[in-house]
């Protein structure tokens, strides 16, 4: 079994050594050009999004999709996106941040602690925990949607932020990552010596283990953030009040608004809003890239 995920892998007990570059470090124009084809594929739709975010509603419908229209309306669109409908977009943005901070943050915390527990302790029912968690991943979310909705309704949680946050707290994938990561990132000897010194388990965890787990935590957090930020199905079912919508649902509502009698077609704001929605995530990826790189580098060491 090799490391299986972007998570830094298992052999990390040694100090960080970045893998040597291949001996003959020839860069290849051909290979670069070929890979660039892939790059065009991945970036073209994003270019489309950026270009069309600069168009007015009329220009959007009347001009070639991959080039700019005469009128550069990007800033006007951004302004309108934030002011349209009494500034509801800002509310959606804040909601999304709330769900991400509490939901993804909580998910990372739970997964980290539990992953550590699974990696470093033997306890009754451990195998059952695995079987259950992993088996549950294969159940389609729609299977859970209606029952979850009915259960949450009974306790009055629907149409509240909790209906989004509580289910977001669980990331079986994150648990799996942290468990494989913790198994190798934390040498047993350190834990043993801490125990000999009489440290309590949670003290050991927070003082000694947590720092060692940092690269893994960043990775899990990043994936949890993406999952929460992009969450669509759950809010679709749980929320009715647009005041609690996350961005994804809000954008879909704006897109659907054109189909309401008397509703205003605002495809230009849908596109600009989409652009604004993905920018924070892209920025997070770019900023956190350093952490991954260290994480990945740390994971790349092998005896």
């Amino acid at each position: 079994m090799t490391a299986t995920t972007p998570a830094p892998s298992r052999r990390t007990s040694r100090p960080l050594v970045v893998r040597a570059k291949p001996l003959r470090n020839r860069r290849s124009v051909t290979l670069t050009v070929l890979t660039a084809l892939m790059l065009i594929y991945t970036l073209l739709p994003l270019a489309w999004l950026v270009i069309n975010a600069t168009k007015t509603q009329a220009g959007l419908l009347g001009s070639f999709g991959l080039w700019f229209d005469g009128e550069f309306a990007l800033f006007d669109n951004i302004g309108r996106t934030f002011t349209y409908g009494d500034g509801i977009f800002t509310r959606w943005l804040l909601n999304t941040l709330l769900y991400v901070v509490v939901g993804a943050g909580g998910a990372t915390l739970l997964a980290t602690i539990a992953g550590y527990g699974l990696a470093k302790f033997d306890f009754p029912g451990k195998k059952a925990v695995f079987a259950i968690v992993i088996g549950a991943v294969a159940v389609p979310p729609t299977a859970l949607a209606v029952p979850t909705f009915l259960m949450f309704s009974d306790v009055g949680l629907t149409d509240t932020p909790w209906a989004i946050i509580i289910p977001s707290l669980i990331t079986p994938f994150g648990l799996y990552l942290m468990w494989t990561y913790a198994a190798d990132a934390i040498p047993d000897e350190i834990l043993e010596s801490a125990r000999v010194d009489g440290a309590r388990e949670f003290q050991t965890f927070f003082r000694i283990s947590l720092p060692l787990l940092a690269p893994g935590i960043v990775t899990v957090l990043l994936f949890a953030v993406v999952a929460t930020w992009n969450n669509y199905f759950l809010p679709l079912i749980m929320l009715k009040d647009p005041a609690w919508y996350p961005l994804t649902l809000g954008l879909k509502q704006w897109n659907a608004q054109a189909a309401t009698s008397g509703g205003e077609a605002i495809f230009n704001l849908v596109i600009t809003g989409s652009l604004i929605t993905i920018i924070p995530l892209i920025v997070a990826f770019l900023l956190l890239q350093r952490y991954w790189q260290s994480g990945l580098a740390a994971g790349s060491v092998k005896e």
């Binding site: 509603q57 009329a58 959007l60 419908l61 009347g62 909705f149 009915l150 309704s153 009974d154 009055g156 629907t158 149409d159 079912i237 009715k240 009040d241 647009p242 005041a243 509502q253 897109n255 659907a256 608004q257 054109a258 189909a259 309401t260 009698s261 008397g262 509703g263 205003e264 077609a265 495809f267």
Partner: protein
């Protein structure tokens, strides 16, 4: 008024459930009926005096101003207007809330075609207890029939969608096409236009349950017969055949633009002459003005094309009512809001916002009829639309599970629009699927 992002749902209105017992005649007014009254008109005033909070689920944009004015008039009442989704999405949310027994709003917007479903399960309140039966004559017959179910009145009509032909005069003039008076003329116009300009189409259609049922309605078809839980679904009648054979010509001749209604392409097509006509409900002008700025001055409104030369038959398309869910908490106060929005001051407020009324007083007022629309080249559009409201073919009814039936329209009839089947075959498949679902749900279906 409605229409959702899914073409399918753009549905017709008026589901004259009063025709349940079609023998009773559909005067729609046979009011009141039995039922112990649990509230009275007096309670309504008392509730207003006491004040309280109301939650209203609606997507209709003009209600925002209605709510504001309502709160100004009754400062003790606080109204939370929530857009819980458009059409189908909102019904899903409403049904779920009712099933869960919590989070049910006090007032909800429900389209006419969807109302029987809620009325049948008694999940909305019979308003006769509040004296709604005394509003007989206030509304035009189509919408008024639509809010009846059995002897009860389950909502107050908010707007209506008598159909008319919207056409792009600029395109018609350019190619010398006359405004079609009959559907045969319409097919001829479609051919002439598309031959003259292969990029132009008489209309777009990728299969829309509301549109199809409205045309069948206009043609005199009565595919749905409903009597309590006894239901008949039959797309074999003469009216349906008329629609199917005529529309099949348009589909087979590739004379319909393959553009789905309410998409960005649709709005563009309406503006640039790609889509030359639109046969749709009377609520459409407001959408033209906000969504099709490029078409300003080009469009006009004419009576709906007829199945019989010289005929005067129309149908309803879209339109919705406000209802009071049975599980809502303050019904008397909710009724006060319904009355304000649908009968009293709210009607005028919504008219000013561009809505099309369901009330006879407004439809007949000179101020309404003579209004000139700059968008339509100063045509007095409401003259045509108000006339259409009076010519709606009586006797139509929708299924008590029309929301679901419409949702599978494109699964079945949709094949006709892609050329994989004929329209008649598609309608048969839709009939079979609707019958099957009805039986599974415990209805007696024939």
């Amino acid at each position: 008024m409605k229409v959702t992002r899914r073409g399918t749902v753009l549905v017709g209105a008026a589901l004259s459930l009063s025709l349940l017992a079609s023998a009773c005649g559909s005067s729609g007014g046979d009011s009141g009926g039995g039922g112990a009254t649990t509230a009275s008109a007096g309670d309504v005033q008392a509730a207003l005096d006491a004040g309280g909070t109301l939650t209203v689920w609606a997507w209709e944009p003009t209600l925002k101003q209605v709510v504001a004015d309502f709160q100004t008039k009754y400062p003790k009442v606080k109204v939370n207007l929530v857009n819980a989704g458009t059409g189908k999405d909102q019904y899903t949310a409403l049904q779920n809330a009712i099933k869960a027994g919590s989070g049910v709003p006090d007032v909800a917007q429900v389209e006419y075609f969807a109302l029987p479903q809620f009325a049948l399960s008694k999940s909305v309140t019979d308003l006769t207890a509040f004296g709604a039966d005394k509003l007989e004559g206030t509304f035009t017959p189509g919408p008024w029939n639509s809010v009846h179910s059995g002897s009860g009145i389950y909502g107050l009509p908010m707007d209506s969608g008598p159909m008319a032909l919207f056409y792009n005069k600029e395109v018609f003039d350019k190619y010398g096409i006359d405004v079609p008076a009959t559907w045969d003329d319409y097919v001829a116009a479609a051919k002439k236009l598309h031959e003259a300009d292969p990029k132009a189409y008489i209309a777009n259609d990728t299969g829309d349950a509301g549109f199809a049922t409205s045309l069948i309605w206009q043609a005199g078809g009565k595919p749905y017969q409903v009597n309590g839980t006894d239901v008949t679904v039959n797309f074999g009648d003469a009216g349906t055949q008329k629609f199917a054979s005529t529309w099949q010509q348009l589909i087979s001749g590739k004379l319909l633009a393959p553009i789905t209604s309410w998409s960005d392409a649709w709005y563009k097509g309406l503006g640039d002459g790609t889509i030359a006509t639109l046969v749709i409900g009377a609520w459409m002008p407001a959408n033209f003005e906000t969504g099709v700025a490029a078409g300003k001055g080009k469009w006009r409104v004419a009576p709906m094309p007829q199945w019989e030369s010289g005929g005067k038959a129309t149908a309803e398309n879209g339109g919705s009512s406000l209802v009071i869910p049975e599980a809502g908490s303050s019904k008397a106060l909710a009724y006060a809001f319904l009355k304000f929005a649908d009968v009293d001051e709210g009607v005028k407020i919504r008219l000013d916002g561009g809505a099309f009324p369901a009330t006879t007083a407004e439809l007949n007022s000179p101020e309404f009829k003579d209004k000139k629309f700059p968008y339509f080249g100063d045509q007095q559009v409401n003259q045509v639309l108000a006339e259409s409201a009076g010519e709606v073919v009586p006797g139509w009814s929708y299924l008590p599970y029309q929301v679901y039936a419409n949702s599978i329209f494109n699964d079945t009839v949709g094949k006709a629009y892609t050329g994989a089947a004929t329209l008649a075959e598609g309608l048969k498949a839709w009939q079979d699927a609707s019958v099957k679902y009805g039986q599974e749900q415990g209805f007696t279906v024939k």
